[in-house]
Symmetry: C2
Subunit: 335 residues, 2 copies
Amino acid sequence: MTVKIKDVAIRAGVSTTTVSRVLNGEKYVREDLKNRVNEAIQDLGYAPSQIARSLVRNKTNLLGVIVPDLTSSFYSTILSSIEQTATSNEYNLLVCNISEDIEKEYKYLNIFKEMRVEGIIIMHEKINEKIREFINKLDIPVIFSSVKPMDQSFISVIVDDYAAAYDATKYLIEIGHERIGFIGGDMRDITSGQNRYSGYRNALSDHGIKIVHEHIRFGDYKVKSGYDMMGELLRYKLQPTAVFAVSDDMAIGAVNCIADHGLRVPEDISVMGFDGSQLTELVRPRITSMEQPIHHMGKVTVETLLRLISGEIQQEEDIILGHRLEVRDSCRNVK
Amino acid sequence: MTVKIKDVAIRAGVSTTTVSRVLNGEKYVREDLKNRVNEAIQDLGYAPSQIARSLVRNKTNLLGVIVPDLTSSFYSTILSSIEQTATSNEYNLLVCNISEDIEKEYKYLNIFKEMRVEGIIIMHEKINEKIREFINKLDIPVIFSSVKPMDQSFISVIVDDYAAAYDATKYLIEIGHERIGFIGGDMRDITSGQNRYSGYRNALSDHGIKIVHEHIRFGDYKVKSGYDMMGELLRYKLQPTAVFAVSDDMAIGAVNCIADHGLRVPEDISVMGFDGSQLTELVRPRITSMEQPIHHMGKVTVETLLRLISGEIQQEEDIILGHRLEVRDSCRNVK
DNA sequence: GTGAAAGCGCTAACAC
DNA sequence: GTGTTAGCGCTTTCAC
C-alpha cells in the first residue's frame, strides 16, 4: 500500500489537517510542526494523491489533447509547445491520437469527460454532427488549435488562411511566375482547405492571371498526396513553372516527384510550401514556405484555454496569429 | 455542477448501487430497471467520474510517458504506437516532454507518482543518481523503451545495438567500402552510443580494416550534429567513401553537409543511417538505414508494462527486438 | 495555531 | 435482485 496522509500525520504526531496545511503551504502552522511534518514526508517518501485531491477540490489540472497524427512534424511541434506551456502552468496533458479513425474522437472526448479534464484542445477539424453536439453539451471549454471547423460556435487559434495563401501566391507572381500550380488540401468540412484555395485563386485573378484548372489538384496534406498530385500536374504539356502546395509535407512530396521525373527544383520548377515545419530546413533544396507561428500557436492555445477555464475571459471569436513567408531555396526568381 | 450518480439514481427511481451496477455491466439487475437507468443516464448526459472511481478502486488506468523530444520523428512514431496500444487496452496516456531539461525528469516522475499512474514509460537514458534512486523507491513499474540506461536493474525494450551496428558496418564493407567513417552518439551514460560504437569497431577489425581515428566523430543524434560532424570528416584529405551515422537524423545532416560541399550521395560518399524513421523515405536520396522495429517497439513496450502491472510477469531481463537493414539509395556498391 | 468531523463521487460488502 | 452503509485519501469548515 502506498503511504497516505494519515501515515505522515501519525509519524509526525499531528493531525491530518496539519499535514494538509503544510502540503498546501498555508500559514498558521508552527515552525517546528512544519519541520516535523516535512521530515515525516521525506522519510516516508510520501506524495499526495492527486486523485483524492481532485475529488475534493473538484479540479483535476488536466487538459485533454486530440491530435490527428502524432507522427506529423507539424502537429508534434505544436504538441510540444502545448506540453511546455501546460506544464509551466501546472497542468498535465492527456494525449490522444486519432490517426485516421474519426470514430475514435467521440470515444476520446467521452474519456476526457469522465476524466474531468478542465479543458480540451482539438487539432482536427473533420467534426461530424454527433461530435458537434457532444461538444456543445459538454460543460468543458474546448478550443481548436491550427484548425477551424465549420461550426461558428467553436473557437480556434489559427492563421488567416486566406491571406496567407494569397500572400504566398502573390510572392510567386512577384518573382515572375505566371503558370502557378496549386496542390490544395481537403475541401470537405475543412475551412483551411477552402480558404487557402480562395487565397490562391484571388491572388491570381487580382494580378490578371487566368486560372487553369489543369494546374489545380487537391491532396490530403500528406507527403504521398503531394507526390501523386504533382505527378498529375506534370502530365500536362503546359507545366506550371511554380507550384504552391498548402502543406510542407505535400511540398516535399512535390519536390520528390519533380526530382524523380528528372527535373530540378527550383531550376525547372519552383515549389512553395505552407506551415513552416522543421522539415523545410531538413530537405534539399530547403523549402520556401508560408509559415504559421507553430510554436507560438501552441502557447497561445493553452494560455487562451486556461483563461477560458478560469472564467477570466469568455472568448467568442477566433484568435488569428500572423503568418510569415520564409524564403529558402525552392523558389526561383524567373524575371 | 456536473451530474453525478445520485442524480441518475433519483431520476431512475433506484439506488446509486443499482446505477453503479448498470454502469459496470453487472448482472443481477432487472431488465426494466436497467432500461430506466440507461434512459436517465442518456437524459442527463451522465458520465461517471473516473476520479472518484479511481479513488475507490485504487486503479487509475493511467500510464505516464516521458519523451525526450516530441518533435523527433523517431520518438513521435514510438509514442504514436504506444498511444494506440495503451488505448486499445483501456489505458490513457499522460505525456511529458523533457526536451533538453533533464531536471524536469524528476519533476515529471513525481507528478506521475502523485497522479498514481499504474506504469511509466521512459524514452530517455540520461539518468542521474537522484532519478535512479527515485525510480528504485517507486512502487510503480517502470520500463524503458528504445533506450537502455546503465543501471542493470531497469528493464528496456531495445534492439541489440551492438549487433545492429556491426551488421550495418559489415554491409558497407561487403559493398566494397574500406574507408568507413562513423558518426556516433553520445557516449556518456548512453549504452546505445557505446554499443553501436563497439559494433562499428569490431566489424572493421573482424574484416581486417584498420580503425582510423580521423574518421570517427560523435554527435547527439540530431540533424545538426550530423551536419557538423560530417563537416569535420570532410576536412581530412583521406575522406571516407562511406559514413555510418547512428541515427537517421544525423545521416540526413551528413547527406546535407556532403551536398553543401558540392559532393554527391551516394556517388561520392555513401551514407548509412540508423533507426528507420519516416524521414529516410522522405529525403532524396532515400536513406539506407539499419532499422529498429519502431512501431512494434512501442507495442511491445506497452504490452510488457501492462503485464508487469497486472503482476502476470516479473520481468527482469531486457526485451531485445530484431533489427533489419533497409537498403535504399544512399549507399553505393563500389566493388 | 490545531484538530474533529463531514464530505467530494463513487464502489463493494453486507443485509434484506 | 436491490438498497444501506462504510470508506477510498484528501481538504475544509468549524470549534477549541
